[in-house]
Symmetry: D2
Subunit: 333 residues, 4 copies
């Protein structure tokens, strides 16, 4: 249930919040791009929508069944622009995020960061907490990695994004980066989604490898309904029977999401293909499909990367990609 | 890396643990069904196996590449039996866990519990924290649900299992139940896996809807390598193109897992099919395939269940299923 | 459109057939388990159902949208029994078909045939025309293979089944075997389906590796609507992301098909798993699920088979399987 | 086995062909873009490669295991250009094929043909034999459709392509069109592949909805090894769990195929998405990925199409797409 407010006073709002709590649901006060509302998360059967409809300060009560609502185009027709410092997702800027999969040390990371910024990347990525299939794989530098990311970001004056995997770390990570990433494996980690929803940080929400587009938008709805409207979606490949590529990059998600939702969507062709050789054509394809940006893995020495080396571009290849992107971007405008 | 110990003293063990920590890996002391060992979790490149091989108290050092090791048949040939109070998974007992998807209230839950116990179920299931695709769906009674589960379990003297979704709740839930469940959506929530690994509670690890058997065993390896050998695997259907059933129950996982691993594997035909009508034949099929047990959803009034009603058996149908199971079980012995 | 007849005369029938032909559809006269009817295959928009409803000899006209009709339970509630000489599919007999994947020569085939018959198989399989992924793989002995199959079938007095891949070969193959098999790759080879529909031979229709159950029943509908009601369905595994097994055997197809259709359904655990080690447990599971029979690959020397050796049972393993099947069968009665 | 010839005489060639036949394999004489060779299709174990190596006129004998060979980049490094009259697939031309899914009548088809030609399409598509999931769906105008296609193609002086589904119809269809299409459902109809291999017609080989790229290239190998090198591949979407789109268009097939093979690859965004709304962005994406051309469904009145209306562009939308394509094409050159 969503209660849209109309010049409600603080007392009126508090009273509604209290009533929702008492009925066993979780109430959230949301300032959704200027529109004030209260969302009631939980079992919708437990609450009587009519009881709220006639309250002072209430404009409308929108019953919700099972699908996404706040993130839908029906709810908000104009496309959303999510701002990360001076970087805009959802505008004509089409920003490119780049950097190595994992932060392996200050020198190596700085080197990659300088290279990608020079080539035109406007945001820096680097993993400090790595969710790895095997317990015997490198799990990230953790706090040390965050410090390196913060330092390099400041030195180069470039915004940063890094993955959060533990609800207990959100505050810590938020102090070091400009945008929180929810990885594919955690797309339906609802505990984590609810926790980043309480944060005001922009969130990059990757699609789960076997999530439908509808489930993905529902995961975004968790964050938005919980109070944080700053969500950027990121397609990174789905799991199919085809094994020549690491995943099957579902580029049709770009026009589909843009049809169903007002949220920006970017593409990660590195995880999406798993081979550097296919990253550039798929990045150009993503731009052709109308994606709102890209996230690309770049490593100064892919052969020695501790994680995802085979899918990382060298700085030289990344620079060439950036030139191609600009051309395609002009073509489809 | 796994360091197998041989009459190592406390000082020797502490020294090894310290050395591993210093090299940037996470050391765990594991008593693995009587065999003492230390596992080093993290980037295996970072450590020099030879340096440990010659230490006093060390019998062998086993380098690990990327695959599962401790959970493999190669490592331990005889089948493991995981004990939850007096219930044995992995023996000829083939226990059946039953109960409603979610705990909705004391009366309703007690009623279902009495019915399933009478029909022969030896363990009780009931969700208090429900991971739901939509933020607007019922999210579980949470602490109140746990209290109900604890109370009913005691009254009927039957062990219980419930899902854990938040690493911060493990202690709380452990005080209320006999076994922790990791749900399909959290199979690769490595933060959660590492946390239950620190616990001594038996763990029911569901297969992710798009996880390969290898990835599933790697998730089990996280728990075992982290110090908790009491893992029972549960197949609950994988995501395919076939939509007539909610998921495609992959029964071949039974012989495959039993070939690759010594861990017990049980089957959840309720989530695996999504329709009560198909639960009984698939439960009998699971027993035919040699599964080590079952988990079945039973609700006294499926039409009114707040969650997963369509796939729940009535007590009467469950009773009939139990009779069929006993017959098939005798047949394949 | 299906026109159900009621004591229609030959003239009345001919007149209806002619009218349908003129309207651009293909008419078929079908004696469907005793019920006489005419089916009109093609664009249903092109014909006016009402024009037929009032004709003498017409009991009812059933408009068809896009789904299966004749093969549905709604259309025919009692389960169909398909007879291949004295073998019954769909009764309590639960026949087992066995034999090598491909016929490689008289001696080898006879040897396998003797072994499987002795163990209890009531029907013999053997491929003479092999659809192979690579043009450089063995393509079958073709006519020579058919002759061997005919000879061995006669010598042992056991019915036989073999795959048909070419509409031009149906007559030839029908002269050598008792049942025609449509392989998974040809499940939507509609030219072939329409051709076997014209035949009176029993047909074993395998499910395509990526076919939904609905599409499979539609393929069966092609055969039945074309005049041949003797269809047995065979599940042999679907293509998923899981690669440990060759395919993912979808045993839930057994209760689903039995719910939706009156046609018998059998299981092929050999192609379904791709490893002999998993064939026996999955065969027992199939029986537990209520399958109407099995098709199992048996080779006297699997290591030297030119096709599908790894998934073939030895005669000794097959014999043991047959004993297990009998026990499970008794259990679920 | 492939026998590469070197100035072999007719007698030498005939002798080799005869020897191969006698050993139970099918020999084909192939003029493969100027290189003369004989391919031996069938069980490679049955033949002794060494026996051929020393024969006069033989340059080399290439043993083949199970993978594709003639269609691989290793075998032929320069990209192949397949010519259909004056249309080139594989060159910088990047031709667009357009037209309605099915031919429904002369007037309607002519209208669409005029529109797509005017907008820049260089080749005309139209189905006369339609493989349909349901026997009750429109199956195509068959011979009448072919006549319309031939007439309109001549009137507008534009090459045509149409699907072949029956090995008995290849000659007939070849007399009416300029290129034969093998549909997705027939990609592994090996009887059909061998039959078009004997033809000299260019072949458009669609990828099966659940075929791996390797299997697809093996299907192409059937045609090339059988004597017909004029194969153009067409990706049209694979079957996954995502149901918002009809199929998941696997655009990564473009760079992957271009890496593995020298054959041209084009994209069908109409079947690939199933909704006209997503056709244009995915067509632009395909061009960005470097596809060698496109095949697009256009209908003058999609709402009334008997087949695939929802995924057909109107002529106006198609014209706009063609402008966008030209711009992207210039950008990536």
């Amino acid at each position: 249930m969503i209660i849209v407010l109309n010049h409600a006073t603080t007392e009126q709002i508090d009273s509604i919040l209290l009533n929702i709590s008492r009925s066993g649901l979780e109430p959230y006060y949301v300032d959704y791009f200027g529109k004030k509302m209260i969302t009631a998360v939980g079992n919708s059967r437990a609450c009587n929508a009519d009881a709220y409809r006639s309250l002072p300060g209430v404009e409308a009560v929108i019953p919700i069944s099972t699908k996404f609502k706040l993130v839908s185009r029906e709810f908000k027709q104009e496309k959303s622009v999510v701002q990360v410092r001076d970087v805009e997702f959802g505008s004509m800027d089409k920003p490119v995020i780049a950097g190595p999969c994992a932060i392996e040390g200050y020198e190596l990371f700085k080197e990659a960061a300088v290279a990608v910024k020079k080539a035109g990347a406007v945001m820096l990525r680097g993993g400090a907490y790595k969710p790895r299939t095997s317990p015997y794989s490198f799990q990230g530098l953790e706090e040390e990695g965050l410090s390196i990311l913060l330092a390099v970001g400041k030195e180069l004056d470039i915004p940063t994004v890094s993955e959060v995997t533990d609800p207990r770390n959100i505050e810590l990570i938020s102090q070091h980066v400009d945008m929180l990433q929810i990885g594919a494996r955690n797309m339906q980690n609802f505990v984590l989604l609810k926790e980043v929803a309480k944060s005001s940080m922009p969130v990059l929400l990757k699609r789960g490898a076997s999530a439908t587009i509808e489930e993905w938008l529902m995961a975004a709805e968790y964050i938005v309904a919980g109070g944080n409207p700053n969500v950027v979606l990121c397609e990174r490949g789905i799991r199919t029977f085809e094994n020549y590529t690491r995943n099957t990059l579902d580029l049709s998600a770009v026009p589909v999401v843009q049809h169903l939702s007002h949220l920006p969507i970017i593409i990660d062709p590195s995880h999406g293909t798993g081979h550097w050789r296919f990253v550039t054509p798929m990045a150009l394809a993503a731009m052709g499909a109308g994606a709102d940006g890209l996230m690309v893995e770049v490593h100064t020495c892919p052969a020695e990367a501790v994680s995802d080396g085979p899918q990382s571009l060298t700085p030289a290849r990344f620079q060439k990609l950036m030139q191609g992107l600009a051309a395609v971007n002009r073509a489809i405008m």
